[in-house]
Amino acid sequence: MSFSWAKAYEPKHPAMRWIDERLPLPRVVYGAIGGGYPVPRNLNYWWNFGVLAGLFLTIQIVTGIVLAMHYIPSTDGAFNSVNQLIMRDVNAGWFLRYAHMNGASFFFLVTYIHIFRGLYYGSYKAPRELVWMLGLVIYLLMMATGFMGYVLPWGQMSYWGAQVITGFFSAFPLVGEPIRIWLLGGYAPDQAALTRFYSLHYLLPFVIAAVVILHIWALHIPGSGNPTGVDVKDEKDTLPFHPFYTAKDGWFAGAVLLFYAVVTSFAPNYLGHADNYIPANPLATPAHIVPEWYFWPFYAILRSFTVDFILPAKLWGVLAMFFSILLLFFLPWIDKSPVRSGSYRPVFKRFFWLLVVDVIVLGYIGGAPINATRVAIGQFASAYYFLHFLVILPLVSAFETPLPLPNSITESVLHGEVAEAAPAGQTRPRRGSVATAE
């Protein structure tokens, strides 16, 4: 840990001392999520969602492992093993299955809030670039896991979703179709595809857990960011993670779990699609093939490319969809503003909220049946998505005049907005464009 005032682990119990001397695991845990990790004292509730994502990953792994004990990965048996065996005959199987189904949605929900928190407060900026990039790796792994999990019940949307998503690869000339066939193990989704998706769906969450450890490790080198974006200066600026943030995360996790329990118990199928309760039928294409809600914005981008311009429309769509996520890896170098927090960036802040609206609009368009108006709105919103990150953000970061930053975290905690502007040189070095109170 980089802060000199971080408390060192002192075993209280002789047994813990005995373990710590032989395997310093208690020391590592204490420094990572215990009293040995100093955290800025001014974190707001948007900082709770990382812990919540970890909580939902745990819920998914626990419910998933038990479900795997009853699930049958065969094209003949998968649908019935889910809808008959698990939902009817396994003790509390319905609970496990609905908890897992909605757990995936909540995992994505809290992760999206966590990502947008990072976008607003500049969490991707130096020295936390690797934290951001590892987070994106987790997100990509989550998308792969979520997609393959949705295939497992082998309903109509499972089957046709697998067909459409593996079909992305066939957009690429020459290599595309062989890659698609290699991925599926056949010309269309069938037993080979189902079994490998099941295998990978079981594997990837543990890969996610491993990358989560790297994500937290990389975070603990500079320490957590904070809503002002100002660096921690001394001990007054921080509080030990335990008990302060364990208490705050604890009660808030209870509140989110309450919301999760209510959805799981009283509207378990609200976030799903009715067609997935129809067994997979390779001969009947559903009227509207849509993925799970957490993919809708990307699905909207994919469907927005409707004109063959030099390249086929489908290839443009696939390239744009992949790039819409890949571009986030470049964000630390796209946004060069030395000010991290959006709270002190008046122009950035407005565009940020525009982006939030844009992504919600894309989500709606991606989930709704196609018509001429929706396609046009989707095209406009997709264009804005790319312009936001690749054109507007670099320009804003070059020309924007940020508001004066507080001198320190402690000063900002109460009424930080009236604090005196930091004289040049007293805070982190910045480019000349930063204004003072004049």
């Binding site: 319905w94 009660w251 199928n269 309760y277 001429a372 264009a383």
Partner: protein
């Protein structure tokens, strides 16, 4: 350099999207899409209120038994109920002996093997069996139904948008094709062997009206078996087949919610208690500290802000 490359890529994507947008708009106005009869005449399901709705919802067992009667006397001629077992009927309030009788009296028997010769045979259903389907396979089902396949009904209320309301609306929605529709869309005449029903996605349904006359079944509990009542009852029954654990889920959910609410409140107070001192420390050294306030006032004075 990186930012120029990325900016260029972004501009290319945006340009192609705008080309797509204008080309689509051009097509839309020069060659507007023809409206379909289904866009205009399709109706959203009528709402069907069930006893199992809401946080405290529980099944009305009387109604489920009536619905089961409609299923077994009418629907089961064509529609299977493959995922449900006879033993599940306990949830409708039948006792063991009644279930045994229902199973052994079921009109189709269960495929089995002759224990002496090993040849294919059938036997009477047992409570542990799932409902035997009316047709041996898809080909037989299509052959008997003008090449249409009657869907399995176990999960039908979860497999259709609108759920039980949709089933109820569909069963009571058959009517003659409106003359106005044919005037607007002369090509949309309901083909032979199909039946007009505005609640069906494309308006024309292969299933002939199954509930046609009041009194088609006779209820033991004295309820008047009107078409509307039979449709309500069978929709309620199918909501049960799709979610037989609904009552347990609701009850469980309420306890979990109460438990989490209490946990939440207690841990919120714990959080307040733990942070109490931390907040006081901040107050002493924070913006309300006289020294910081003086600094703030000086900054405000310089910036020309009053108050």
């Amino acid at each position: 350099m990186l930012r120029f490359i990325l900016g260029f890529i972004g501009a290319v994507f945006a340009m192609i999207l705008l080309i797509s947008l204008f080309s689509n708009l051009g097509t839309y106005f020069s060659n507007p899409p023809a409206p379909l009869a289904a866009d205009k005449w399709h109706e959203e399901p009528k709402h069907l209120a069930l006893a199992s709705d809401g946080l405290f919802g529980r099944f009305d067992k009387q109604q489920l038994q009536r619905g089961f009667q409609v299923y077994s006397e009418v629907c089961s001629a064509c529609h299977s109920l493959k995922l449900a077992s006879f033993r599940d009927l306990e949830g409708l309030g039948y006792n063991e002996a009644e279930i045994k009788k229902i199973a052994s009296d079921w009109k189709t028997q269960v495929a089995s093997i002759n224990p002496d010769t090993g040849e294919a045979a059938t036997r009477k259903a047992l409570p542990s069996d799932t409902f035997p389907p009316p047709f041996a396979n898809e080909v037989a089902a299509r052959a008997a139904n003008n090449n249409a396949l009657p869907p399995d009904l176990t999960l039908i209320t979860k497999a259709r948008e609108g759920g039980a309301s949709y089933v109820y609306s569909l069963l009571t929605g058959y009517r003659n094709q409106p003359a106005q529709l044919l005037k607007e869309f002369p090509d949309a005449k309901t083909p032979p062997n199909l039946h007009y029903n505005p609640y069906f996605a494309n308006l024309n349904l292969a299933m002939p009206p199954p509930l046609t006359t009041n009194g088609q079944v006779s209820y033991a509990d004295g309820t008047k078996p009107t078409v509307d009542q039979m449709a309500r009852d069978v929709a309620a029954f199918l909501a049960w087949t799709a979610e037989p654990n609904l009552e347990a889920r609701h009850a469980n959910g309420l306890w979990v919610a109460v438990f989490l609410l209490l946990t939440c409140i207690l841990s919120y107070f714990a959080y307040q208690q733990i942070w109490h001192d931390a907040k006081r420390v901040v107050r002493r050294t924070g913006a309300l500290d006289p020294e910081n306030q003086a600094k703030a006032n000086r900054a405000k004075g310089k910036a020309g802000i009053s108050g």
